[in-house]
Symmetry: C2
Subunit: 348 residues, 2 copies
C-alpha cells in the first residue's frame, strides 16, 4: 500500500491540504496518509522547522504532499536565525528528498482568460511548463556569509547537476510540443556559460528530436509577458526559475490555480506555489484548487496513476467554472469548492 506523507504547514496550508486529502481519499482509498509537521508551526512545537520525525517519515514515503510554510511580514519566525526559519524547513526538505527538478505547469484554462492581467488574446491558449533546478545555485552552496559590512553568496553548478534537470525538461518536452528554451545569463556569468554548453551537448547527444534554444533571463522576463505563447518547456537554474515561475504564474490570473511537483531520485514533493496567506488563514475561504491539482500531480508522477490524476484535473476544471472561489471573482469558500470537485468526480 503506497504511503503519502502530508505536511500541512503554516497559514492556509492546513485548510487547502485538508481539501486535497479529501480528494485523495476519494480517488485513491488504498493510500495510507500520514500527517507530520513542517515550517513555523514545527518550530514552535519541536524547535525545528523540519523535525527529525518528519525527516524519518518522508524517507520511506512514496510521495509527499505539502501545504505552505511561513508567517506574515512581521512574524517573530522571520527574526529567528536563518536555519530555524520556516523557509529553511522547506529548503531542507527539498534537499533531504533530493528533489532537483521543480515542475510548474502554467496553463490558462479555456473560458478563464478574463482572469488574466494580460489582454485576453495574449492569455488564450498559454500552456508553459517551467522546469526549475531546485538544489543548486545560490540557494545551497556552502560558501555564504556575512562578515561585518560585506556579504557573499556563491552561485555554483556542476555538469552533473545541469544534465539531470535538463533530462527532465527534455523528457517532458517529448510528451508535449518538443520545444525547450534554456534560460541563462551567459553574456555575463560563467555559471551560465557552463549551463548553456552542457544543456546543448546533452541535446546533441541524446535528444536530437527536441528543438532547443537559449535565451537570456532578462529577455525571457519580457517575452513571457508580451508573447507567452512562444514557450513550451522552459528549463533554468534555481533563482532564475524562482523568479520566472512566479512571474509566469500570474498569467492564469490567480496563484490559487498553480500546482507544482518536485522530482528527484526519491519520493516526489507536491505543493501549491502560493504562499501561506496569513491574512486569510483560518477563515475557510482559501482556494484549494492548487493544492488539489498538486494532489493530481502526486497521483500522476508520484504514484503513476494517470487515470486518477486526469479524473481530478477534469473535476477541478469543472468546479472552477461552476463554483469559483473569491480570488476568482466567485463566491465559493474552501468547503463549497471542494464539494464541487468531489461531486464532479462522481459524475460520469
Amino acid at each position: 500500500m503506497p504511503k503519502v506523507v502530508v505536511l500541512p504547514g503554516d497559514g492556509i496550508g492546513p485548510e487547502v491540504t485538508a481539501a486535497a486529502v479529501e480528494v485523495l481519499r476519494e480517488v485513491a482509498p488504498d493510500v495510507t496518509l500520514e500527517e507530520q509537521a513542517i515550517g513555523g508551526g514545527a518550530y514552535d512545537a519541536h524547535g525545528d522547522p523540519l523535525p527529525q520525525r518528519t525527516r524519518d517519515a518522508v524517507q520511506d514515503a512514496d510521495a509527499v504532499l505539502l501545504g505552505t510554510v511561513g508567517g506574515a511580514q512581521g512574524s517573530p519566525w522571520n527574526a529567528l536565525p536563518r536555519h530555524l526559519r520556516p523557509e529553511s524547513g522547506l529548503l531542507a526538505l527539498r534537499k533531504a528528498l533530493g528533489c532537483y527538478a521543480n515542475l510548474r505547469p502554467v496553463r490558462v484554462q479555456p473560458g478563464l482568460e478574463h482572469l488574466s492581467p494580460l489582454k485576453a488574446e495574449l492569455a488564450r491558449g498559454v500552456d508553459i511548463l517551467i522546469v526549475r533546478e531546485l538544489l543548486g545555485g545560490l540557494y545551497f552552496d556552502g560558501d555564504r556569509r556575512i562578515e561585518g559590512s560585506v556579504a557573499y553568496n556563491t552561485m555554483r553548478y556542476t555538469t552533473a547537476e545541469v544534465e539531470r534537470v535538463a533530462k527532465v525538461a527534455f523528457w517532458a518536452a517529448e510528451q508535449r510540443k518538443g520545444r525547450v528554451t534554456s534560460v541563462d545569463k551567459a553574456n555575463v556569468l560563467e555559471v551560465s556559460e557552463l549551463w548553456r554548453r552542457d544543456v546543448q551537448a546533452l541535446r546533441d547527444r541524446e535528444y536530437r528530436s527536441i528543438h532547443l534554444n537559449h535565451e537570456y533571463v532578462d529577455s525571457v522576463a519580457m517575452l513571457i509577458v508580451s508573447q507567452p505563447s512562444r514557450y513550451d518547456v522552459i528549463v533554468t537554474e534555481n533563482l532564475f526559475g524562482d523568479i520566472l515561475s512566479d512571474l509566469a504564474a500570474v498569467i492564469p490570473g490567480s496563484l490559487g490555480l498553480m500546482p507544482s511537483a518536485s522530482l528527484g531520485d526519491g519520493p516526489g514533493l507536491f505543493e501549491p506555489i502560493h504562499g501561506s496567506a496569513p491574512d486569510i488563514a483560518g477563515q475557510g475561504v482559501a482556494n484549494p484548487a492548487a493544492a488539489i491539482m498538486s494532489a493530481a500531480m502526486l497521483l500522476r508522477h508520484g504514484l503513476k496513476r494517470s487515470d486518477a490524476a486526469n479524473q481530478v484535473d477534469r473535476a477541478v476544471a469543472l468546479a472552477l467554472r461552476e463554483q469559483p472561489t473569491r480570488d476568482l471573482g466567485g463566491k465559493a469558500d474552501t468547503k463549497a469548492f471542494t464539494h464541487a470537485v468531489l461531486s464532479a468526480m462522481g459524475s460520469p
Copy 2:
C-alpha cells in the same frame, strides 16, 4: 563648453543615436559632441570592445550618450573570449565611469495604454522608477570561473555599495511620491540580508520622510505585472534589477520607449534599454524615441538643464501620438519620427 561623448555602438545603435544627436544639437547647440567606438564594431576596428581611445575620451566628458552594443544570436562576436565580447565593452564602460546607479523610468504615456500587453485598466497611470545597482553583485566580482565541469560566480555586496545606490533611490523618491520598495531574496540569501539591513538603517538614519518597504524578488515579479500601480521607486541589486527593469519595460508596450540613465561620481551614461536589433539594423526604421528620451535624461542629470530636458520629453510625447513608428503600430520611420520631434520643439 560641456562635452558629450557619443558611442553609437552596434546594430541600430548608430541610427537611433544619430537621431538623438540631431535633437541635442537643436536644444543645446553649445555642447561639443565627440564620437567614439564601443562594442563589436570597436573590437573589429581596434581589437577591443572598449578601446583605450574611448576610455580616455569619456574620462573628461560631462556625459556619455550610448547607442546599443552586441550582435545577432549567431554572431562571431559571441564566440570570442568573454572579455572581448561586445557586452564586455559595456560592462567595462560602466565600471570605468563608476556608474553605480541605473535609473529606468517606466511610464505609460496617457493615450498609449492600448500598446500594453496588460489590460488597459492595469496599465493606465503606471509610473515606476527602477533604480538598479550597476557595479556589484554577480556581475563584477573577481571570484568567477569555470573549472572543467564546475562553474562559480560570486554575489557580493558591501554596506558602502548598498548605501550609495539606496541614497539615489531615496533622493529620487523625494521628488516623486516618497515611497521606496527595496527588493531582495532575504529569505534565502545572506547578501540580501545585508542589503535589507543596510537600506533600512539608512532610511531610519537619514530619510525618515520616505515610506520604505521590503519585498522578495519573486513576489515583485508577480506584482509588477498584476498590480503595477502599487510601485513608486524600486531599488534592487544588479541582477534582480536587470530582470525586473526589463520586465517592467514591457508594460508601456514597446522597448522603443524606454530610456535609462546610469549615474555615479563621474560623468553619467545615458542609453536606451532596447538591444541592438540586428534584424532591422541599417534599414532606417528603428524607433529612436528611447535614444532621444535618453538624451533628455542626459540634459537633466548630466548637464543639469531641466528646461531643455522637459522640452524634449514634451516633443517626444507629441511625436509619439502624431507620428508613431512601426513598433507602435504606426508608419513613421526613424527620419520621420525625428523630424516630428524637431518640429514639435519648434512649436510653442
